[in-house]
């Protein structure tokens, strides 16, 4: 029988009730007395010198209360990059200031250079148009293409950066000579040039922010669509506006998806706070979808050349990559770590390859900032590796399954340190591959291929074996690598007097189901019903300083902090029980919610201990404080390393080039699983985002820097009839060795492992039909596939 509650049970979600009845509480749902509306004036050119800002035009228009321009914020701080990367020559990266509102120049279409606040939304909208009409922007030539940006020193996104290069990073630079020599001497080298296509995250809830100011106390409140309210508070308070952190509360209520795009602090958040102080009224802003397309941080956008050197039998000798990574017009908060430490360090994959070298040049362009999007660097690494391995197998006539098996790090080799400096703690890549082969019925593929052929369809099968690194830590190490924040997390477990529990967590749930799953863990630890546990998140005035949710870190970092805090509560409970039961602490056992003196039937329930802690009439006050509330900060000893094997089958229409994904199979190792239903849902969603990247999605800028894909009519999101059911398995679990829950993280897996599986399947279909196609860049639209087949 599957468990029906506690750790490992597929419990239904408590948060669903409000979401299914229209009672969710998202930022734009909040109405405040006296509220006003901000609308931003955004550049319609990609690159331009601001000659004048027409805020005067809005003065006196109906309902207009205030206008702002870059001039108003030129003396406050910039929105910083969270990670300092050093170039190969030892120089620090170039870090241009990212202002609240553009000042001097506008640098991408959508760059806000003014804002207006009015009594109603429509009044603000009308006034914003008047300001736009009255402003003079001298258009400059846009820098869009990365190679051109690096080569043309006369045209600069930032005047002080002559070659538009943010950094030129090598990982690991000391490996370079050995890797070069190994490739030169290798019996076979496969080379692949590929593009990891630019994506627009498209969380379904547009970004929204409400600023409030309380003149009586000088306190501010920001309600905003953030994945990490404490990080936002730190950035907007300490770095941008200079508000003391203890005078600013940041609340992220229900948030409608993030996928990375809501990690970052954006200028709109600072603007609504500054405007609220000026007007002493709440100021609200909600993005239109077109603003989301233009200003949410985009994802991916790498141009890569990868070389794989191997023996003739497919034994890997070396990987070498050269990548140009687009960072857009300004550095978003995680923009510099994403193409470097979240990408280069994964470039050994799950393989025992002795030589790896990664070079990444980050390039400024007149496009929206690019930053971490579901997977963040790891999908780029996985795509490069799994595509080049597939190409090598075709060149040498080798079986792609056997080549992976031959090169996998084997279970007896852990802990295993890769040439790119990660120390994998545990895994079993053979097991997940075997499971995927079985579930996908690879043995039956030939029969299915023949059946497809009778319908005139070309069938192909693609494989990807992936690994990622989650729960980035320890802080001391990442600090040495350039991180400007710690990467621990925190939880406070407050047992209330009547025995129910409030748990305040630093993680933030915007779809991840924390309210249900975290409660399962606490209930399991304490032996109490889930219904007695409440999870509190998303409010800096209530929760301890935690880093929020991204990078599949919620459970592996914050979940472990919460578990540790529970252990502290149990330890204190033992002391209280020992006093009440007139025993010594070492004799007290805690199981299923009952403290018992070992070998006796003398016991106290969890609720009795809690009551005693708050009504300490019979209590060891001389040695123990009253109350039952503990906080734990947890800074992991290492990353966690989820891994798995994905198999995709496609049918390609020879006449049109249309690709249909007919089956998709995932065998993942996430370590221990807290709620299988939730984990499977995360994989389903990630896989479909990956199928979207592989077949549908592309953010396109034209040569003048105009975003051609600025609506859902132009940017193809996966819809229900674009995808099949996804087969998911997580039974091949090797529990993480350095957190007590044994968990690894599952949020990004689907988006990391799936794109190369899809593309490999299409190439397989075309190869079997003798089309002579070795690569097609994503997305594999009918036009691209047909053109490749008919080249």
């Amino acid at each position: 029988m599957p468990k029906d509650h506690g750790i490992g049970a597929s419990m239904k979600r408590r948060e669903d009730i409000r979401f299914l009845t229209g009672a969710g509480h998202y930022t734009d749902d909040i109405a405040l007395h006296g509220q006003t509306y901000a609308v931003f004036v955004r550049s319609n050119v990609a690159h331009g010198r601001i000659v004048s800002v027409g805020t005067e035009a809005a003065k006196g228009m109906p309902g207009v209360l205030a206008t702002f321009s870059g001039e108003d914020f030129k003396d406050v701080g910039g929105n910083p990059a969270g990670w300092l990367i050093k170039s190969r020559n030892g120089e620090p990266m170039r870090e241009p200031k990212r202002p609240v509102l553009a000042h001097g120049k506008v640098r991408h279409v959508g760059d806000a250079y003014a804002a207006v606040v009015a009594e109603t939304y429509n009044q603000a909208k009308d006034a914003a148009q008047a300001i736009a009409d009255a402003s003079v922007i001298e258009e400059l030539t846009a820098v869009v293409n990365m190679a051109t940006a690096l080569a043309d020193k006369s045209n600069r996104v930032h005047d002080e950066i002559p070659d538009n290069e943010c950094f030129d990073w090598g990982w690991i630079e000391d490996n370079r000579a050995a890797v070069d020599a190994a490739i030169k001497a290798a019996p076979h080298v496969t080379t692949l040039e590929l593009i990891n296509n630019r994506l627009v995250p498209n969380a379904m809830e547009p970004r929204a922010s409400i600023g409030e100011y309380y003149p009586g106390t000088g306190d501010y409140k920001l309600t905003t669509t953030s994945q990490n309210p404490h990080l936002t508070r730190l950035l907007v308070a300490a770095f941008v506006l200079g508000i003391p952190e203890n005078k600013l509360t940041v609340v992220s209520p229900d948030v409608g998806g993030g996928f990375g795009s809501k990690i970052y602090h954006y200028g709109e958040e600072a603007l609504v706070l500054a405007a609220a102080k000026k007007l002493k009224r709440p100021v609200r802003w909600t993005a239109e979808r077109s603003e989301s397309f233009l200003t949410d941080a985009h994802g991916r956008d790498h141009v890569t050349k990868i070389e794989l050197a191997c023996e003739k039998d497919g034994t890997f000798i070396a990987f070498r990559t050269e990548t140009m990574a687009n960072v857009g017009a300004y550095l978003s908060n995680f923009a510099t770590v994403t193409p470097t430490f979240l990408h280069g360090t994964l470039m050994a994959g799950p393989y025992k390859v002795p030589n790896v070298y990664v070079n990444v040049k980050a390039v400024f362009t007149n496009t929206a900032p690019v930053d971490a999007y579901r997977g963040a660097g790891r999908p780029e690494a996985t795509y490069s590796l799994e595509r080049v391995v597939d190409k090598m197998c075709r060149e040498l006539g080798l079986d792609p399954f056997e080549v992976r098996r031959k090169n996998f790090i084997t279970p007896d080799m852990f802990p295993y340190t890769t040439p790119v400096a990660l120390a994998y703690d545990i895994g079993n890549y053979q097991a997940t591959l075997d499971k995927a082969v079985q579930l996908a019925d690879v043995a039956g593929f030939e029969a299915r291929r023949v059946a497809s052929a009778t319908k005139g369809k070309l069938r192909g099968l693609g494989l990807s074996t992936w690994i990622e690194a989650c729960g980035i830590a320890p802080s001391a190490l990442v600090g040495m690598l350039g991180a400007r924040v710690g990467l621990y997390d925190a939880a406070t477990v407050r047992v209330n007097a009547t025995g129910n529990v409030s748990v305040m967590v630093g993680a933030h749930s915007h779809g991840q189901s924390h309210e249900t799953v975290f409660a399962q863990i606490v209930a399991d630890k304490f032996g109490i019903p889930e219904g007695a546990v409440e999870i509190v998140h998303g409010d800096t005035s209530k929760i301890p300083f935690g880093m929020g949710s991204y990078g599949s870190r919620s459970l592996a970092v914050c979940g472990q902090a919460m578990s540790n805090a529970c252990d502290k509560v149990i330890t204190k409970g033992r002391k209280i029980a020992a006093h009440m039961l007139e025993a010594v602490e070492g004799e007290i056992l805690f199981k299923d919610g009952v403290f018992t003196v070992s070998g006796t039937n003398r016991s106290k329930t969890f609720g009795e201990i809690a009551f005693s802690a708050y009504v300490p009439h019979n209590y060891p006050l001389a040695t123990l404080e009253p109350g039952l509330e503990e906080t734990a900060f947890y800074d992991p000893a290492n990353f966690t390393y989820p891994a798995g094997a994905y198999i995709c089958e496609v049918e390609v229409d020879e006449g049109t080039g249309h690709v249909e994904v007919t089956a998709f199979t995932c065998a993942d190792d996430f370590g221990n699983v807290m709620n299988p239903m939730v984990v499977e849902g995360q994989v389903h969603g990630g896989v479909v985002q990956g199928i979207g990247q592989a077949l549908l999605e592309l953010g396109v800028y034209d040569e003048t820097g105009q975003l051609l894909t600025g609506t859902y009519m132009d940017y193809a999101m996966p819809r229900a009839d674009d995808v099949p059911f996804v087969t998911v398995d997580h039974s091949c679990a090797t529990p993480c060795t350095h957190n007590a829950l044994g968990v690894k993280g599952c949020g990004e897996a689907g988006a990391i492992g799936s794109p190369p599986a899809v593309v490999n399947a299409v190439i397989d279909a075309l190869s079997r039909a003798g089309k002579g196609v070795t690569h097609i860049d994503m997305p594999l639209t009918p036009s691209r596939v047909w053109s490749a087949m008919n080249a």
């Binding site: 009672a23 379904m204 809830e205 547009p206 779809g511 969603g685 996966p718 819809r719 229900a720």
Partner: protein, 159 residues
């Protein structure tokens, strides 16, 4: 501003609306029914779907004045009279057909309208029927399962 009246979730209501006020804004700001979400402003994402006289409509594509006196049902009107979840809502919870919850109201309204006209749809018909609603979280897998389950086709829903 003029006053616009209609019947929303069985109750006669009146709120002010400009000629350009969309039904979505009328519901959210005029009536405080914030369960209807606006995801794209351009009638492509489906988060704002409501029923107007029983037909699924993207409420961001209709002026409030144009549906004056109509009977409108929103997500707030989908639960049973005793407050328990309706059949489609319950199927979404049972099959984990939602994650962040933002597209969910529109999904439930579209799915309900689909089942009203096609009580036992095939998987392909469900996928086609929900093609106007974008979900970024679930990959549609559990949404399709939920809708099939809500139609009483448990064998299919269990795959």
């Amino acid at each position: 501003m003029t006053k616009v009246s209609m019947v929303v979730n069985g109750v006669s209501v009146t709120a002010e609306a400009e000629g350009r006020t969309l039904l979505s804004a009328y519901l959210r700001e005029g009536l405080g029914l914030t369960g209807t979400h606006v995801g794209c402003d351009t009638s492509q994402c489906g988060a704002c779907v409501v029923h107007v006289d029983g037909v699924a409509v993207k409420s961001c594509s209709v002026f409030a004045q144009d549906v004056a006196s109509a009977a409108v049902t929103t997500i707030e009107g989908m639960a049973n009279e005793d407050g328990s979840l309706g059949v489609v809502q319950q199927a979404f919870q049972d099959h984990h057909g939602l994650q962040c919850g933002f597209c969910t109201p529109g999904m439930v309204m579209s799915a309900s309208a689909l089942l009203a006209t096609n009580p036992r749809p095939t998987e392909a018909e469900v996928r086609h029927g929900l093609e106007g609603n974008i979900c970024r979280c679930t990959g549609y897998h559990n949404i399709v399962k939920a809708v099939l389950a809500a139609s009483g086709q448990t064998a299919i829903a269990a795959e």
